[in-house]
Symmetry: C2
Subunit: 264 residues, 2 copies
């Protein structure tokens, strides 16, 4: 499966990320369904122009403010996140004082261990949620009940879930937690349900969160709470959807004007 | 990996298709990259509302007219297509007199054989492009040269490529062939390069092509050529992009109007 990607390929960067995911799948870190999920993300990333747009930047600020003012912040890590940005996840946890917890939709002891190893190789000193440690259960809508670590997500007030599904996001919100989601689809149930939704590729969002955390750490609590209070997730999501729609409109217009007259 | 999908899950149908693909991957029919590609398709399908919209219906008519008026029509089959709609591909080949040819981006003798078996189980009497039969090479941009069957794609005047990549579509068009692509992303190079692009899910498009072929078969050649001549692919693609943009605009508007005032 080793593929040589020519540097001049129009989608070289995207292809390299894709290869990381496939490698993660071969190493037991990424689930098959994780590959499909990545494809969905690719499509939406393409639509937003593979850039961190303004509403996402505001969501990143608010998310970091939430993590820094939290009592028990937790970063939930799944296979895709571990395969793509392990170092940055560890850095973000360190700066914000958040715990890292492995949390999978398709649980398997092997995959949990594999993800734990990836995080440890990236410098993590403690990784929650693996094996017997995920002994607590939380109620979850429409699917099997989810197990979490009683030292992590169970007692967390703020949980960052990069790449989570709708049911689980809803379950965490219903438990009263502040849920920060990173989801490239602004229309998804995850995006619509989370407290703060960052519509961006985790490849860009997690490093941007690290920078924001370095900048905001040590600031007055009142400033952080102000950032949080001024953030409106519904408004922010609507702006993201409009941004994509406008971008498509422009592309359609330019294609339309070059449309030949009849025949093919 | 057996997952129970509750019937009342909001995305049940989409989840079932996903499971078919994952099963295909486990059986060696679908490539890892095919799972990612499926995810991209899911995202765009979601944006068009998981329906066959008007421009796609027109493209389906034109595509079937092209196949029925062709001298050597060929249906190129990859892993995803074989995993999702094997019966309908065989039916379409029968009605239009097209040959079925296995054609993979990530070639492997095992996968070729696996796809051939799937098509044969679905009733195919002849499957081209497998192993030594793919002895001809065609020039291809920016990647390794592609091998095709000298009885199939090499001499084809019309080729249906459900789910093909940009480079390969371009190569076939440059060879002077009429290329029919099925691609849910109207902006992709494949969509933009093909002669006729059906922006639809193959799950719906291939059965719709079967129906159209049953209806149009036996019609006057002049009628079929008229359908073809009246079809404008650039115009059609622009309409698809506009359709998605308008749909997003409406969603954004409805989200915006329910946006709460400040805070989260």
């Amino acid at each position: 499966m080793q593929i040589n990607i020519p540097d001049d390929h129009p989608r070289a960067e995207s292809l390299r990320i894709r290869e990381k995911l496939i490698e993660g799948c071969l190493n037991g870190v990424v689930a098959y369904a994780g590959l499909i999920a990545h494809g969905r993300g690719e499509a939406f990333d393409y639509l937003i122009g593979e850039q961190t747009v303004e509403p996402a930047k505001r969501a990143i600020e608010a998310a970091v403010a939430a993590l820094l003012t939290a009592e028990h912040p937790v970063i939930s890590v799944n296979g895709n996140a571990a395969a793509l940005v392990p170092q940055d996840l560890v850095k973000l946890a360190e700066i914000t004082g958040a715990k890292l917890e492995v949390n999978l939709f398709y649980r398997s002891p092997e995959r949990e261990e594999a993800i734990k190893r990836v995080l440890e190789s990236a410098g993590a000193k403690e990784v929650l949620g693996v094996g017997e440690n995920a002994s607590a259960r939380i109620p979850e809508v429409g699917s099997e009940r989810r197990r979490v670590d009683p030292r992590g997500i169970l007692i967390a007030d703020v949980v960052l879930v990069p790449l989570e599904d709708g049911d689980r996001t809803e379950a965490l919100v219903k438990m009263g937690k502040t849920v920060i989601a990173i989801d490239l689809n602004p229309l998804s149930r995850t995006a619509q349900t989370a407290t703060i939704t960052i519509v961006d590729n985790i490849i860009r969002a997690i490093p941007a969160m690290v920078s924001a955390a370095q900048r905001l750490k040590g600031q007055e609590d009142s400033l952080l709470r102000k950032i949080l209070n001024e953030f409106d997730n519904r408004q922010n999501l609507a702006e993201m959807i409009e941004f994509i729609a406008n971008r498509l409109k422009e592309i359609a217009k330019s294609k339309m004007s070059t449309a030949s007259s009849g025949g093919f």
